[in-house]
């Protein structure tokens, strides 16, 4: 692997934070932001709720690596295990044929970036976050970790604020509708490395954008950490669809923060698929600030052996006639733990708010666990809040029916799981639906029957 070994010091210190900022030639306000986040991080304890993070040694991680890899479009440089997976999933093809632009992040820096010219002409900005800091300082300073996700949010946003590196910056000007989805891929290719990419999407008034993020990492023996951050600003009347499939290797702690601020008549749509990593804590949040703002969150989770998938969604209704819809589907197998942890809050001013939460869980064997913890806080009279959850197993009748039609037991179970997850797979664009379906098939191989 051609990575410069000059900075692989483990652990986090002020010197390192200064080094990161210096090597990126950042303006002083960004360094100040990083140092503030770092000092908060030092004082804050690891959260004591949710899955155990005891296997995560924060002192043993490499927080920043200067990549010496030149800009590349060559997927063959990846380790074979991963390219095989990509081949099976048909990613390069999808990338070449369908997608508007692709940014791939190789360890901590972006190595490949491309945006169709027609989009650039309309004023759409699709940049590496590091470059954006240099090229569009006013925009970045105004929106980067300020109102949406301040670095003081929790322990891992503080860490992120101190050592963030790379990621994507998207700005869509007023009224511009981006027809093709933009895509970025993030990968970690180093043992005990942390990945702290920052995604900032600003959809100005009346614009529309769809952004896809895929994440994966090959397997290494010591554990890695992914503490990314996604901030989305959905201005008046804008529409943003954010899709991500996270398939980190099984020793990664995926502690991600995703949040959107949605203004008047804005629409935010989250689609998240989680199948990798050992511990995932991910709760995409939507803050509905303007009247009639809408948030829609779809999530699927596969929890296999040794995995603890703690995911959910949050919706904060702070304005009248706001609407939130949360759908979550989980499959636990081989001793995996899947947890839905959600939060819906209806504020005093959110008269006429409507919120609906639906969670479905499938448990495939007796070793696995499924939990549901939906919280609701309501301070308003004129609301309509509903929540529903179901936990169950594969039906014997369904399996019997398919077997009577000539499917093997394993095929039958795979088909039923596929059908169970279908509503979410359907919400994805074609090439991602194919990827997800194949990922599910790969996950299910040899797991049931």
């Amino acid at each position: 692997m051609s990575i410069d070994e000059k900075l692989v010091n483990k652990g986090l210190s002020e010197t390192l934070v200064r080094h990161i900022s210096e090597s990126k030639n950042e303006p002083s306000w960004m360094l100040k932001k990083r140092l503030e986040a770092f000092s908060l991080w030092k004082e804050t304890l690891i959260p004591n709720w949710g899955p155990s993070l005891s296997g995560l040694n924060l002192d043993d991680l490499v927080y920043y690596i200067d990549p010496s890899v030149e800009e590349t479009t060559d997927w063959k440089e990846l380790p074979k295990e991963i390219t095989d997976t990509f081949e099976k999933l048909g990613i390069p093809k999808a990338e070449r044929e369908y997608l508007g632009g692709v940014g791939a992040q190789y360890d901590s820096g972006i190595v490949y970036h491309n945006l169709q010219k027609s989009l650039a002409d309309k004023g759409v900005i699709f940049e590496n976050m590091d470059v954006a800091v240099q090229k569009y300082p006013e925009l970045v300073e105004k929106y980067f970790m300020t109102d949406c996700v301040p670095s003081s949010d929790h322990k891992f946003t503080m860490l992120h604020g101190a050592v963030w590196s790379g990621g994507t910056f998207i700005y869509v000007p007023k009224g511009v509708k981006v027809g093709l989805p933009l895509q970025a891929y993030f990968r970690m290719n180093r043992p005990s490395a942390g990945q702290f990419e920052h995604t900032l999407i600003i959809a100005d008034e009346g614009s529309e954008i769809e952004y896809i993020e895929g994440c994966s990492a090959p397997r290494y023996t010591s554990s890695s950490l992914h503490a990314g951050c996604v901030e989305v600003f959905v201005m008046k009347g804008a529409k943003v669809k954010y899709l991500s499939i996270e398939n980190w290797s099984r020793n990664t702690y995926n502690l991600n923060t995703k949040k959107a601020m949605v203004y008047e008549d804005g629409e935010m749509q989250w689609v998240n698929g989680n199948m990798g990593s050992c511990v995932t804590m991910l709760y995409p949040s939507s803050v509905l600030l303007g009247a009639r703002a809408k948030a829609d969150s779809l999530g699927i989770v596969l929890a296999g052996e040794g995995q603890n998938q703690d995911t959910g969604a949050k919706a904060l209704h702070l304005a009248p006639d706001t609407v939130s819809t949360i759908r979550s589907k989980s499959v636990s197998k081989d001793g995996g733990i899947s947890t839905y942890r959600g939060f819906v809050q209806i504020g005093k001013r959110a008269t006429g708010a409507v919120s609906s939460v639906v969670c479905d869980a499938l448990i495939l064997d007796d070793k696995s666990v499924s939990n549901t913890y939906p919280s609701t806080k309501n301070d308003n009279k004129r609301v309509n809040i509903s929540h529903e959850a179901k936990v169950g197993r594969l039906g014997d009748d369904e399996v019997f029916y398919l077997r009577s039609r000539g499917f093997s037991e394993r095929e039958a179970e795979r088909l039923i799981v596929g059908g169970f997850l279908e509503p979410i797979v359907k919400a994805m664009p074609l090439e991602y639906a194919i990827e997800l379906n194949k990922l599910i098939e790969l996950e299910m191989e040899g797991s049931v029957g």
Binding site: N371, T372, N378, K381, E388
Partner: protein
């Protein structure tokens, strides 16, 4: 003064909490070790027995119930006044075929401030549980409602949990967390929650039949609470 209705079970364990502990049944694992301070009431339902408790929610209460093999426990609770208090019910379905149900209808008025927690532990196979809670909130009432159905490993069981709240005043508030903790695949378990007010559409029908607004309203609220 210690809070006299404090109970700490599995996930809510504090590090040194157990020193006040009292093992509630030797056949249960450490995990279900509970802390019962003054005011805790333990009820055992012997095998093949049916026990029904009717309670008027009026004060702080902690109830722990063991339901033996083939036994049934029914709990009916109602309230129609201003209440301030905490109400915890833990039902342990300990024997094969044990059944339990909690049926509550609350009509909270004035400055009611209530914390309700219903938890059912399925510790044996062929156990069935049902929780049905309906609440109407008026004036400045504030309710915290939590419920949880926990099913252990290798348990075949069925659980159903439903909570609905009608909010009839601008100042009433409700916070709800209906949870499920499932560690077995041979189960059917569901829960649902709804929080809403009475809409103009719902009022329209009884009013079109000649009732005035006040009576239509009353009719709908009474209908909601009738379980």
């Amino acid at each position: 003064m210690k809070n006299n209705t404090k109970i700490i079970l599995n996930t809510y364990v504090e590090p040194n909490a157990f020193k006040y502990g009292l093992k509630i049944a030797s056949s249960f694992s450490e995990e279900f070790l509970g802390i019962i301070a003054k005011g805790g009431e333990v009820i055992e339902v012997a095998p093949n027995e049916t026990k029904k408790i009717e309670n008027n929610l009026s004060q702080s209460k902690l109830l722990i119930v063991y339901v033996g093999e083939g036994a049934t426990f029914e709990y009916v609770e109602s309230s129609k006044s201003q209440v301030v208090g905490k109400n915890d019910i833990h039902i342990i379905l300990a024997g094969r075929g044990a059944k339990a149900s909690i049926t509550s209808s609350y009509d909270f008025v004035g400055e009611s401030e209530v914390d309700i927690y219903h938890k059912i532990y399925h510790e044996a196979s062929h156990t069935i549980s049902k929780i049905d809670v309906r609440g109407v909130l008026k004036d400045k009432a504030h309710v915290i409602y939590r419920s949880d159905i926990a099913m252990g490993k290798e348990i075949e069981a069925k659980g159903e949990e439903s909570a609905s709240f009608l909010i009839l005043s601008e100042e009433a508030r409700v916070d709800a967390i209906p949870s499920l903790d499932i560690a077995s695949n041979d189960v059917r378990c569901s829960h649902s929650l709804s929080i809403k007010d009475i809409s103009r559409d719902e009022l329209f029908y009884p009013m079109s039949r000649g009732l005035d607004e006040e009576n239509s309203y009353k009719l709908l609220v009474d209908g909601f609470l009738e379980i």
